[in-house]
């Protein structure tokens, strides 16, 4: 029987757009035909994590969390709700940013589930961040003369959340493409409020490592950085703040190339999707510039 891909995302009871990136990336992957079925599932929407597997025909399922960090959701909630027998976070053998995958059985459906690490800690996520910077500046070679800020929650609810931000910031910095790279946080130092203090470059691209746009990326962060006094009135990209041009990218998860990371996770777990990966990279490699309002 065919193999299926199931994407597990957070979703929202309040925000209609929370599920949009999940649907978009699922559609991109669906169009490649790499899987017999592609199914979205949500913690807060339907199909729920509890009931997604029973809607899938395949006996073999690749389950990829569309989450940024490893921790509470990926190690407790998702395996529990999907009823993955004998799950133990040790199976991923992760230091917080190096999750792999584990093959388990689902208790209620008997399907074989290849449970993959989240998209957010996959190495190829660094490429999506860079691509997001290209999208927002409209410059495929953006880097020289630019600083890059990768923004996350901070450790308040999950200590690995900061790790994922730092991991990608370090990786991108090593590449030497941007003059400066800095991780910033919403609820701890270095804080996103002080973005201008952390860079010398005139231009700063700010990429929040979030899956979907919502309250944090559309209201909090733009206001905290001083892009606008009131998010409802919007802001320009770039906006000049304390002498720096801030190119605010919005949630990285809306970048079409994210579909590639989902596929990479499945490929690492043994899915035969190399041509789909190629196709998706080609299709999503030249995204149009995003605007902030």
């Amino acid at each position: 029987m065919d193999e299926a891909l199931v994407i597990a995302a957070h979703g929202s009871h309040l925000n209609a757009e929370s599920s949009t990136p999940t649907y978009d990336h699922a559609d991109t992957i669906r169009a490649t035909g790499a899987f017999g079925e592609v199914r979205e599932s949500f913690w807060k929407e339907e199909p729920s994590f509890r009931e997604a597997l029973r809607t899938v025909d395949a006996d073999e399922v690749y389950l990829v969390p569309l989450f940024i960090s490893e921790g509470y959701f990926t190690e407790q909630v998702i395996p529990r709700e999907f009823r993955l027998e004998d799950w133990d976070p040790e199976l991923w053998d992760s230091d917080g940013t190096s999750a792999t995958n584990a093959t388990l059985a689902a208790e209620d459906t008997d399907q074989t589930v290849h449970y993959c690490g989240p998209v957010g800690t996959h190495d190829s996520m660094s490429d999506v961040i860079v691509q997001r910077a290209e999208s927002v500046t409209g410059d495929p070679d953006v880097g020289e003369g630019f600083g890059l800020a990768v923004v996350g929650h901070g450790t308040e609810r999950n200590e690995n959340s900061a790790k994922a931000i730092q991991y990608h910031a370090d990786r991108i910095e090593e590449r030497g493409r941007f003059d400066e790279v800095q991780s910033l946080f919403m609820d701890e130092d270095p804080e996103v409020d002080d973005v201008a203090d952390y860079f010398e470059s005139d231009d700063i691209v700010v990429v929040p490592l979030f899956i979907a746009d919502g309250f944090h990326t559309q209201e909090d962060i733009p206001e905290d950085m001083g892009l606008t006094d009131d998010y409802r009135t919007g802001y320009d990209v770039p906006t000049t703040v304390e002498g720096h041009d801030i190119w605010y990218a919005g949630a990285v998860g809306t970048e079409p190339l994210m579909a590639d990371v989902v596929l990479e996770r499945a490929a690492d777990a043994g899915a035969d999707v190399s041509s789909a990966i190629e196709q998706v990279r080609e299709e999503t490699g030249g995204a149009k510039p995003a605007t902030g309002d």
Binding site: S12, H13, Y23, S48, E51, A52, R54, T55
Partner: protein
């Protein structure tokens, strides 16, 4: 397409076919072919082909084995739609020619036969009698995800089975598998759970087990306990799971031994477990129900007491917006309510001028 079903029949005959009153076999003496009004035996392949080409039973057999999705629940759902377990093929094909319709939540489902092929369609049941040209036509099953997101007023629908599906659209021509995919996009997992229930295999998770499993910010719901009592869960079910709020039929109870006193509803498809909205609500109730009650003293006229009851009813039943501006006879009318506030609230917004914290 033409003739495919005949080729398939000839190819399958040696294994024997017995399905929906069609019996076909192949043995030393040739083929046998039987339906309620046709009975051939010892015929050669050419005759079999001629007989089969004209037989709705053969088209029917082919549909159910080669065209319809084979996953057991999807298959059973399509059979249910045309009442295949009750009606024989002749009766069904007659009915299909005019179209067979059924309701699934707020969906109006139908299947029609044209040129021997089944075509499926879906629209809102409130639009059942609306001309197709007046509805926005869709052909991609996944469009249902977007339609299901908002109600007719543009409000976000966090619960897919809330009875607030927007109107004005149709999927006029779907294949069997597209049809089930579309239903599943409107009402995820309802077909799977409905089928499990019919097979006696619905895995219900009751309230107690569901809340015991919660962690993180929802872990607190475990502590919402009234000793041996479960009236708080009755209230939750009455608040959230009533047919006026959710079209699933609630099958979960307090626990394995203790049924709730509230009716589960009459929906076609079951609810097997408290959903995320109910758990999110329960988290808030756990917090506010932990307070101890106090006696507040202030006076109301009988009409004012009734008016407060009217306001609560109107909000709880979602009818506050329907009360006409000048309908001063309704307690939940805006002017009436503003008058009540002007009279009974002090400058700090305290009802009856009595502070909340005493």
């Amino acid at each position: 397409m033409d003739g495919e079903y005949v080729d398939a029949l000839v190819a399958t005959a040696p294994d024997g076919i017995a399905f929906d009153d069609l019996h076909v076999a192949h043995n030393g003496g040739g083929y046998t072919f039987q339906t309620p009004n046709v009975d051939h035996s010892g015929i050669d392949e050419e005759t079999l082909r001629t007989v089969a080409a004209e037989s709705p039973h053969v088209r029917n057999w082919y549909f159910w084995h080669a065209t319809a999705p084979q996953k057991a629940d999807r298959w059973a759902f399509l059979r249910w739609l045309e009442d295949a377990e009750q009606r024989d093929v002749a009766e069904r094909y007659d009915a299909l020619a005019d179209g067979i319709a059924a309701t699934w939540g707020e969906l109006h489902l139908s299947v029609t036969l044209s040129d021997g092929e089944r075509t499926y369609s879906i629209r809102h049941r409130a639009d059942a009698d609306v001309g197709t040209s007046a509805l926005a036509a869709h052909d991609d099953p996944l469009d249902a995800r977007e339609i299901a997101k908002h109600d007719d007023d543009g409000g976000y629908r966090p619960l897919k089975t809330a009875p607030s599906l927007q109107t004005g659209w149709t999927f006029p021509e779907l294949s069997a598998s597209e049809f089930v995919t579309t239903v599943d996009a409107f009402y995820p997992a309802t077909v799977a759970n409905w089928h499990r229930e019919r097979e006696g295999e619905l895995d219900v998770t009751h309230w107690r087990d569901t809340v015991d499993r919660q962690t993180g910010i929802y872990g607190v719901v475990k502590t919402w306990d009234r000793g041996d009592g479960y009236e708080h869960v009755n209230w939750v079910a009455e608040a959230c799971c009533d047919d006026s709020q959710c079209l699933k039929r609630r099958e979960w109870q307090y626990d394995e031994e203790t049924d709730l006193d509230v009716d589960g509803g009459s929906g076609e498809f079951p609810c097997r477990e408290p959903c995320s909205l109910v758990i999110a609500g329960a988290r808030q109730w756990t917090k506010i129900e932990g307070e101890t009650s106090q006696t507040y003293e202030f006076e109301l006229t009988p009409s004012e007491k009734e008016q407060i009851e009217d306001i609560i009813d109107a909000v709880a039943d979602g009818e506050a917006d329907d009360i006409r501006e000048a309908d001063i006879y309704e307690g939940a009318n805006r002017y009436r309510t503003r008058f009540l506030r002007a009279k009974l609230f002090d400058d700090e917004g305290n009802l009856g001028g009595v502070e909340t914290e005493q």
